[in-house]
Each structure stands twice: as structure tokens, then as C-alpha cells.
Symmetry: D2
Subunit: 344 residues, 4 copies
């Protein structure tokens, strides 16, 4: 059993990490820190952990050396303290946005300030196994993923891998998300009377996760439009793209099937009957699956690609645990077997 | 046209008042104050008022003399400033809890500190027309109502009026409420990810609105249990009471029908078919109706009385406008004709 | 007071029509028919109408001559019976899809069967006042509007009117909708456990309302993608379009302001602060307003236009009543003054 | 590995059973039957099972002999076919209401028709381990539990076990439930526009699950009042009871702690701070825990006991699997370790 700790465990991704690691057969949790909840039992913040663990939140300054260290602090913190934490563990997985982008110029453009540790950017592998498995397997340092970036990237992956997209038309990707994506901090817009029942397009373009999609596939530009809906967990990406002339439907099917065959957590959903014919985040809460599907207009080559995830799992903590499994040479699915509920 | 102003118009009850008064045929709004939103257009805080009014929030210290003044400040404020406001208007309707209870001892017991203007308590009529119409008609000062108190009182009213209840068994009243009851201020428990999908019994007993129910009917005690559910507007009271021996079902029917006949906003809902067989707040959003219904166990005299309201309307601003109509001798329904939506 | 009747009044649009007409100062309702609910009180089907009217559903075969007749039957019925109804009223407003498209070829293409009364298509004016006011004013027959078509058309209207769009790139319009759009009939996918919490892209393209958008603006093609979300009332269109080179932001502002100035029910929502910065259907339930807004990328000419409506009001019954007002020479807002609720 | 099959696997409890058994370390699923979905893959009905199993629904008439047989058919079916199924497996767990009540007279009173196999009633142990562990351990036949009965029974258990309740006052138990309790069949009241946002007291008293509570504790009568709220999974019981004179708060604490100590799935939730101070079904989706808590009025001996469960887990399939574990001598928690999600 390997020893793991989590720095910053009182947020939603931190809580999800604890839940996953408590049931992981290869590790045990040594410490979980939280400055704001110092001394409290974990279950007082994460009520689903009651009777699961007697751990209390410790001071982040008292984090000890372990085999694997997860950093789940607010964006901007990890880059200023990475050296310290690198002294405590040979394997680090950082869930913040700090080490996702390889190019410090790109980082500054999208995050508005220079990176505090640009020399570390190259040491981190981007933590989405479905597009970066080999690098992660050999990495000591792995970044987190943006939840919307994950949904967007995975909606395009089959088509990019099979080289089916025209180059000159930027993908337009509409993402609908639940409220947990905004994190644990309260704000006027997250007040239940104001957030309930919304269809709120809060970012028409310019969302920071766009940078990860661009980096993943080398597009010149991609449009991410973010709309908040009444749901806690889940994100759906609906991508509008143009196929190369002559692309046949069977080429597209093959591309999607390849993505499924090469990735244990990818499923193709494209049914002609029943209620769940397309990918939907509703049934993915708590699951690490990423469901993909598509509709193609053969006359015009217009394709709508759909991708559903649980933003706290595949879009955050699930991918982080999956990355850990790869880094450590364990079965990729270890600790990630929960399939989700129906109905829910 | 009478001139009205609202002190404290940036909260949910203040906004609802503005909406109602803008469409009221007998009044026009002169000023609406808000210290926190000073200088902002009303529609920037109450987005449903866009294109309805060009009013901006003024400083509460600049409120001028008017015919009718509504006070919609946080609890505890009106009692310290009532003299000042009485100098500005001969008719005042205060929506806070400050002047609901007649007995300063009762006030201190339930609100935890002595009343700042006990000599004013008797000058205020309790602002629930369905139990206090005549007093309101002759009053210059009318209090607001607690939303849960309104639901509880109205669930018992037919039975109390007809003297059908045994004295020695306290009513147990379960109230389920939406999130707007908590007001406009954000707190960790109102954060959408935490508040969505809840069934949260946040007050087993001891809720302050209990005092209003006791005052209304002279019960020795009443149990109000509050459970928050996933809804923005609406409250449902389910009251469990014991009927006097010998009470027949037709006596109960008669009691409920009387309540309906004597009150334009009371409706009896007791259907044998269809979807909406009992009172439900779902269809009352924006409406001033109070729907009542019951189920009776003839063998035992156990009766379950059900009452549904929109907490911001009948449970707050709607009753306040209705009270104004009575004070001014206008038709009781003026400005309150919106029947609610279906489906919604 | 003019006499109106409604054929097919048990569905959601029929119920909404009754609600609106009961409070309309120029008309009174003579009859409302429903074969399935024959003899029932209207309020047994539309629970918000309790204590509003004593009308019962009559047999559609017993509809009598009136001044204005609304047809709110399932799609396909009105076209087979239009002659009969034209004998009963000189003014007819049909809310179904039967007379929206002028071209019978287009009708057959999108609805899958030949039109039963193609000679009537030209007699009907398309019932969206914001793009067809003058025709409606002079018409005896007015069609309904598709709710998604309305949201899509209104998202494009300012840009089309000002001729700001490039011709060679088809608009991509993502529409998110509530469940009431599906009508009153139950199906496995509308079962609450399956429909609650969804983000379900049920139509990637090919939705029938597309035809109305094409007809309105003469585009060669438009992409409408439909996603169901957890909400009862409301639709949001997010349109992605390309502006002509050289279009400045002030040109766009002017275009949107023109749409507002020329249409009493159109509002521009584009705030820099507060919670409601963009159009949202949440605050439009029960209202006839259509809120529009936009975000523009000046570097590339990419524009995201956002439009929010209540699908049962502006997207159906509200526009129908507004059309009646225009046909009859009444104030356009008569009976449509409800501004919507906040919070809700 | 033991061989298990499920008769009637297309409903919500059947689907939940499959999910649990697929991850159970001691069993494998041999067959799952469904007449209505014959030949379909399980994941076409239970979309969360995609990529989990290749099983297809078989004909119920082709169910073969196995070690353990689960019956998850509609109420009334198992009692007519129990002999047949007893020939196929030595261990049977029936999730319907057919074998919950021991007394055929009680069965007929609450279910309206005579029991078809009264001689089998005594052979079945009531399948709620928390009140019947020893019998279940020795049983070959175990019944299911009513979800509302489970919540009600567990809200009273600590007090009954410690003999703290007065005899002459009937418990009043208010239960709020999600929509999955109604099962997989669609009806007008489960249509999303009608079921969304409800607070609907659909049964004031007389709910069939009352019989199980009476049987469990020998009360003369108990009041169960059922209110549907906007949630898919979950039930909360709020029980109002009277304590024997002289009962101290520490006696009550001790009673609740005993219930926790003796039952691995029972948790006591009674916090002074944080958001989740009382039991809430929100965080229990997918979990087999039953959370209990209380508030006591020491002056009067009035106690409010609160119990939260996932109706499809502890209230149905979870208790069934737990019962299987006990019958087979396995660890009680096998296959039931999922702790639930937060937030969700």
C-alpha cells in the first residue's frame, strides 16, 4: 500500500479525491490539509465520508513526505510552492490549472499574469490519459484537467485522431454545466433562488479552458461557449465541426469506435431507441466514464459531436486517480469502478 | 392615484412589492430606497422589472412624505425608526417581524431581545386579512406576516373558526418551503450545489413564526417543523390535528367552505381525480391565493389539513398589498389578480 | 367586448390562452373545447384557473360563431378543418404548425406529408409580430409560431435587419429548452425520474422549426440544435454567426437597440455587473418579453447572440394574443403586461 | 462464486440490483428476465450499465436453477408463482410487497384482496436487517421492505428499542419522497412539467407501508403522511413522538448511539455546525446508509426523529443485497461500500 496525502482537501475536487482514494486498493490516505477547516473531521465538510474515515484536516504546513502527493489548492497556489512539495513526494498530481499549459506565453495570455514557475511546466504531463497515456505513464508530475476542456477535447478526439476535420473552420463547442463546476465558494449568482432553473450563458467565448483544447490539438482557434443549467454535477459538450469532403458515415463510426476500443473509460452512445440515445451527464454522477456520440449530416459534412462527463470525476478527480494508476503501473480502472446510478 | 414609497426595496419582498405596485391601478411608486444598491436602477437588482420602470434606488435618508409607506427592511430595523417614518406617512405597512406580536414579552421570548418600541405594538394591526380584516380596515399601521405563520394559520383557520378542535392536543404542523424564504443573502447552505435537491429539516421546533400562530389562535402550544425542499417559491403546511368527538365529515366540509366563501383569496382544493387534488404551491407562484384542503379519518377524528401559498405573495408582499387595499377602502383584489401559471 | 372561443383548450398552449384571455380587457371567452375532457371544469385541467372561471370544456363540434377563434389543436388537425372554422369566425389564429410555412413544398419536406389545404397557406400571416407586424395588422388569419423558431429568429433579427451577417456561413443556433415544450402528453422520456436533471441533446439538426427560421430570413441553411434541460418553461437560443468584415461594435449595439426601440416586447440585456447580465428564460415565465443580448469578438467578427423567451408565451400563446391585438387594432400590450417573477 | 438470477429486472429496483450484484465479490449474475424488454441488452434499459455487462433480458419462463434468486416483479405476482421459483433456488429474496406482512388478515386489509399463498407468509423473514438480523441469517426466504416503511421504522427504532415512547400517543410520521419511488411506469402526474417543483401531499394517511411499521413495533396505529418533492432518489421521515415522562436527553443520545453501534449501515447525524446537521437523503444516493438524528424538547418530552435513506438502496435493493449477505454468511457490507456523493 502506497502512502498518499492531499494538500487542499476541503473543496469539491479534494473531497472527491478522498472518496476515491479511501476505496482504492493500492493506497491509503496519510494526511489531508485545509487551512480553513483545520482540526475538523473530514466528514464535517464532506458529509458523505461519515463513518468512512476518522481523518481530520491538518495544517498544510505539516504535510509530511509520502509516496504520492495530490495538490488540490485554488489556482495559482501550486506554482508558488511546487519546489516545497516536490521535496515531499516523488510523484505529484496537481489538480489546479497551474501546470496544464506547456507554454508560459499561453499561460499568461489566458490567466492574466506571468507563471511563477515556468521552468516546471515541461516537467508536468497533461493529465488526461485518453490523449496522453504514454507521457503520464512515464511522468513524475502530472497536471489536472479543466472539466470543460476535457468535455471539449473528448468531443473532438475521434475526429482529430482520424484526421477527418477540415482545417479552416473553427470548431464551435457549446458546453452546458452544473453548479459544482464553480467550486465550493458561495457567490450571489450561486445563491439557490438565483441559480435554480437557470439557462445562463455565462461565457460566450474566452473561457480559460479554451487554451487546453487549443494545446491538445493545435487548432488555431476553438470557440467554447459556456451555459450554466440546473444540475449539480455534469457537463455536456456539443461540438459543431466540418468534416473533410468525402468523409463517409462509416469513417466516422470507425473513428468513434477506435476511441472506445483504445480507452477503457470511453463509451459510444448512439442508440436508435430508448430514452438515453445520446451521451448525458445525468447518469454519470460519480463515474469516470466519458460518453461520446455524434450526428452527421452526410449531405453537407456538418457533424455534431456530443460528449458527457461528470465534471468532478473525469473532469477533475477521476482523471487524477486514473493518472496515478498509470504513473504507478496499476490497472487503469483501479478505484474507479463505480458505474453511476439510474435513475438519479 | 396615491403616492407610495418603499424603504428597503432590494430584497425579495421589496422587489415583489415593486412588481405589484407598478401594476396597481390606485397608486404610483414615488421612491424605493436601498443603501446597498444606491443609485442603481431597480431592474439591475430585480431583473423582471426591466422596461417596467426607470426608478433608481435612493438613499433611505432621503425618503419623502407620501400617502402610504411600505417598510421592507431586515428584522429589527423598523422598530428603531418607526417614529421617523410615522412622520412621513399616515399609513404604514411594515413587512418585517417587528410589529407582528402584540405582547412585548412574547416578542422578547421568541426574538431574543427586548422590543425597542413596545408602545407601538398595539398600534399595529396584524396584517393577515383572512383573520383580521376588520382591524386592518380601520388601521393606520399594519404589520407583515410570517410566511410559515401564514401557511400554518390558514391550515387551521377553518377548524378554529368552527370550533372543531380538541383543546388538549397540540397541532403538529409540518411546513415544507422553498429557498426564497431565506431571503436574498447568500450563505454556505444556500450555495446551489448544497441547496439543490435537499430535503432538509432545518428546524424541528422553535421556529419564530410559531409565536404568530399561537397569538392568532390562543393555543397553548403548536409545533412547527420546517423542512427545506428544492423549490424557489412556495410553502406547504401539513397540519395534524384532533377533532372533537362527534365531528362529522360534513361539519368539516362546511367549515372549509365557509373559509372560502368569506375570503376572496381562499380556495378549497379537494378533488377525487386529476393531478392537482390537494393544495400545492407549485401553481401559486406570483399569485395571492391561499389554497386549503383536508383529509379526515372519520374513525378516529384525526384530520390532516393542507395549506399552500407563495411565500413571497400571500406570505409577504401579497398580503401587504391586500392590507393596503383594505386600509384604503379599495377592492381587496386590486393589483392582485395574477392567478399563477400552469405548468411551471 | 369581443367574443372569442378556443378549439382545443386542454393542452398547455390552450390553457395559457385561457389565462391570458380571462384577463384581457377587450374580450370574453365564450367556449373552450376539448374532446378528451368534455364536461370537465377548465380548472380541473388547468389548476391555476380555479376561482377564475366557471367554464366547462365543450364538444369541439358545438363551437359556435364568434368574433375571434383560436385553434389550439395538435399539429395536422387545423388544415383539415379550416373551412369549417372559417365559417364560424372572420378572424382566426391557429397555434399549430399547419399554416406557418407559405410554401407547400417546404411544408411537405419538413412535416413529411403533403399539406391538406395548400390554398390556405397564403391567406395566413406568420404570427410573429416582431418580424411581421404590418401583415398581421391586415390579416384575418394568423398562424402560430414555433417556440424554438421564435427564439432562433429573434436571436438573429437585429443582425439580419441591419444586414451585418456574411452570407456564406450558416448560423449555428443552440437552443436549450424546458419540458413544457413537449406538450401535455406523457412519454417515457418525460417521466420525472428520467427527465429530471437532464442535459439531453435530443435533436442535433433537422428540427422542424428550422423551416420557419429559413423562411423568415431566406438563409440557405441554418443549424438548430436542441438540448433539453431541467426546467419547465423557457427556451434560450445561443446563435453563433459571422459578421461582415469591418463591422464595428457600435454597429452591433445600434442594431440591437433598433430591435428594442421598434418592439415593445423586446429588451436588450447586456450588463457588466449583477447576476442577470445576459438574457435568461428563468425570469420570463408568464411574460411575453423576448430578451436579447450578444457578445462580440472584434478581432474575428465572431458574434454570439443570445435570446430568451417563455416558450408558452412569446413562443406560443403570448404571440397569439399579441397578434390578436394587432389584428383588432388594440394596444399591442393589452392583456400581456405580466412582467415575470424574481426570484422564481 | 455463487450464481444469482433476477426475475423482473427492468424496473428501478431490478436495475439497482444488477448494478450492486455486478460489483459483488461473492456472486455473478446468471440471468435477468423481463417480458417487456425481452432480448434487449440490459444497458438499453439501465443506461448506467453500458460497458458493465453483455447480458440481455431473458424470458422469465426460461429462468434456470441458481443458488440465489431475486424476485423484483410488480406487487402481486410473486405470491402466485412462489412455488415455481422455490423449485429453482434454495434462497429467495422477493422485493415486492407480497411477503412482507406475516398476517394474511393484515395483508388483505391493506392490499385489498386475499393473499394467494398465505401458507408462505411465515416462511419469509422480513428483510430489514436492522430490526431482523438474526431471522434473516437463518432464513431461506426473505421479503423486501417498503421504502417509506424503512424510513419510518428506522426513525422510531432507537426509541422503541430503548422503550422510551409513551404507549397512548400515536407517532405522526411525515415522509417526503423523490419520484423514483413511484417506479418506472409513466403516468400523468409523473410527467415532468407536472411533477417538477412539487410539494404534493399525495397520501394524508392510509399508505400501505403503514402496515409494515405497525407490524414491526406492534403499535396500535401510526400515521404516515406522504409528500412528494422535487428529487429523484431519497426519502426523509420526520417522526413526531412523545417520550415517557422523565426521559432525559442523555437517555435519548444513548438510544441513538446504540442503534449506530449495533448496525454498520446506521449513522447518527446531529451536528451543531456545518451545512449537514441533520440526516438528508441528498448525500445518500447510491448508498446503503440510513442516517438518523433527532431534536428533543426537554420541557415537554416532544421529540422529532429524522431518518434519511435512498429509497432504491436501503429502501429496496440495498437491503435486499444486505439480506443476501446475511443469509449466506458473508460480510454484511459486501458489495455495498459506495458511500454516496457530495456535492450531487
Amino acid at each position: 500500500m502506497k502512502k498518499v496525502s492531499i494538500v487542499g482537501g476541503s473543496g469539491y475536487t479534494g473531497g472527491e479525491l478522498v472518496r476515491l482514494l479511501l476505496h482504492h486498493s493500492e493506497v491509503f490516505i496519510h494526511q489531508v490539509s485545509s487551512r480553513g477547516h483545520l482540526g475538523e473531521y473530514l466528514y464535517q465538510v464532506h458529509p458523505n465520508l461519515r463513518k468512512q474515515t476518522d481523518l481530520k484536516f491538518c495544517d498544510p504546513d505539516q504535510i509530511e513526505a509520502v509516496d504520492i502527493l495530490f495538490l488540490a489548492m485554488p489556482h495559482g497556489k501550486a506554482q508558488t510552492e511546487i519546489k516545497k512539495y516536490a521535496g515531499l513526494a516523488s510523484k505529484i498530481i496537481d489538480l489546479s490549472a497551474d501546470f496544464r499549459l506547456k507554454n508560459p506565453v499561453l499561460y499568461e495570455k489566458w490567466y492574466g499574469s506571468p507563471h511563477a514557475a515556468p521552468e516546471w511546466l515541461d516537467k508536468f504531463a497533461y493529465g488526461l490519459p485518453e490523449i496522453n497515456r504514454e507521457q503520464i505513464q512515464q511522468a513524475n508530475y502530472v497536471s489536472g484537467v479543466g472539466c470543460n476542456a476535457t468535455a471539449a477535447i473528448m468531443s473532438l478526439k475521434p475526429l482529430v485522431d482520424a484526421d477527418l476535420l477540415v482545417k479552416d473552420q473553427e470548431p464551435i463547442i457549446e458546453i452546458k454545466t452544473g453548479s459544482s463546476e464553480g467550486g465550493v465558494s458561495v457567490n450571489p449568482g450561486s445563491h439557490h433562488p438565483e441559480r435554480s432553473g437557470v439557462i445562463r450563458t455565462f461565457s460566450a467565448f474566452g473561457h480559460r479552458h479554451t487554451a487546453e483544447v487549443i494545446q491538445a490539438y493545435g487548432f488555431e482557434s476553438v470557440r467554447l461557449t459556456m451555459t450554466a443549467v440546473d444540475l449539480v454535477r455534469g457537463a455536456l459538450a456539443t461540438a459543431h465541426v466540418k468534416l473533410k469532403p468525402g468523409t463517409a458515415k462509416k469513417d466516422v463510426w470507425k473513428a468513434y469506435r477506435n476511441a472506445v476500443n483504445e480507452n477503457v473509460f470511453v463509451r459510444l452512445v448512439n442508440e436508435r431507441r430508448g430514452i438515453y440515445r445520446v451521451p448525458e451527464p445525468k447518469i454519470l454522477a460519480g463515474s469516470n466514464y466519458v460518453d461520446i456520440g455524434f450526428a452527421m449530416d452526410e449531405d453537407t459534412g456538418h457533424l455534431v459531436s456530443i460528449c458527457a462527463i461528470d465534471n468532478l470525476m473525469k473532469g477533475a478527480s477521476g482523471s487524477a486517480v486514473q493518472s496515478m494508476n498509470l504513473m504507478m503501473g496499476w490497472d487503469e480502472m483501479t478505484g474507479l469502478s463505480f458505474p453511476g446510478l439510474h435513475p438519479v
